[in-house]
């Protein structure tokens, strides 16, 4: 399930449907190879033969570890890609311009000095109508107070 940009399309999880089956198969294969290595090693008392079977078991473990690492990296990449897409859509010129325009024409959202808002954990401060601040427990403060707290102006609403 890939869109034209090569990114995983939004679904219930960041992986493509076939990825999980592939992970199961490769994990099972790795475990079988490791088990064969153990079986071969325990069936002989000669150290040279045991060393060879030990290598087989280690190879199975490496296969398993590689499959899991690739799986996690694919998930991480999909999450990061979606995060980037959301952030870039927030900063897209039409949306930012509409937000700015609504701020200036809507009487109930004045942009006074004390109206700039942020959450204590936020790195940026926003205008009250900014999309980045909606549905969040933001508190108003002056620009000086925000800047004293180390926050920077939001790059979407440009307070």
């Amino acid at each position: 399930v890939k869109d034209r940009g090569g990114q995983a399309a939004p679904g219930v999880e960041p992986w493509r449907p076939g990825d999980l089956v592939m992970l199961y198969l490769v994990n099972a294969f790795g475990l079988v190879v490791a088990a064969v290595g153990w079986y071969g090693s325990s069936g002989t008392g000669r150290f040279e033969r045991q060393a060879a079977w030990t290598n087989v078991a280690i190879a199975g473990t490496v296969i398993l570890a590689t499959a899991n690492t690739v799986w996690l990296m694919a998930g991480r990449r999909a999450v990061a890609g979606r995060y980037r897409r959301i952030m870039s859509s927030l900063a897209s010129p039409p949306l930012a311009a509409v937000t700015e325009h609504l701020r200036t024409v809507t009487p109930e959202s004045p942009a006074g000095e004390g109206a700039l808002v942020a959450m204590p954990s936020m790195r940026w401060y926003h205008r009250p109508g900014c999309l980045c601040a909606t549905r969040k427990a933001v508190v108003p403060a002056t620009r000086a107070a925000h800047e004293k707290a180390g926050r920077q102006p939001c790059w979407v609403c440009h307070p």
Binding site: P10, V12, E13, P14, N27, G30, L31, A34, G37, W38, S41, S42, G45, R46, F47, Q50, W53, T54, A57, I58, G60, T61, L64, A65, N68, W71, L72, G75, R76, A78, V79, R82, Y83, I86, S88, S89, L90, S92, P93, P94, L95, A97, V98, T99, H101, L102, T104, V105, T106, L131, T134, R135
Partner: protein
């Protein structure tokens, strides 16, 4: 109590599986060490290293993957909610601008906010 545990297992199956696998891996590691420490012959120790040590490594690796996958799924769901909320907000802004009240006040509307721009904002195109 049992219902609560069943509920947690149903909703957090991946984390429950991760904890179980890591616990079993640690037990396998201990048993492998126990078996290997019983003998001083390397030829007898190696099978214990493989069945205990490598099996433990595999189980712990799979358990860790399960746990990190659960974290990634959580993050994905949060982004999903954020994406949905953003689209709702965009639609709301679009409809607000199209109402009479805002249309009257939009005399000084910047030229970049034309119908074309609004359509693109609504459809998520860039």
């Amino acid at each position: 109590m049992m219902m609560e545990i069943a509920k947690i297992l149903r909703h957090q199956w991946d984390r429950a599986g991760a904890i179980t696998l890591v616990a079993v891996g640690l037990v396998a590691l201990f048993l492998g060490w126990l078996g290997a420490s019983d003998t001083s012959f390397p030829a007898e120790q190696i099978p214990y290293v493989l069945s205990g040590g490598l099996l433990a490594l595999c189980l712990i690796a799979i358990g860790t993957t399960l746990w990190l996958s659960a974290d990634l799924r959580d993050e994905w769901r949060k982004l999903d909610a954020l994406d949905g909320s953003l689209q709702e907000q965009t639609e709301a802004l679009k409809s607000l601008l199209l109402t009479d009240r805002v249309a009257k006040a939009s005399v000084g509307l910047p030229s970049s906010i034309g119908q074309d721009s609004l359509s693109r904002a609504g459809s998520g195109q860039r």
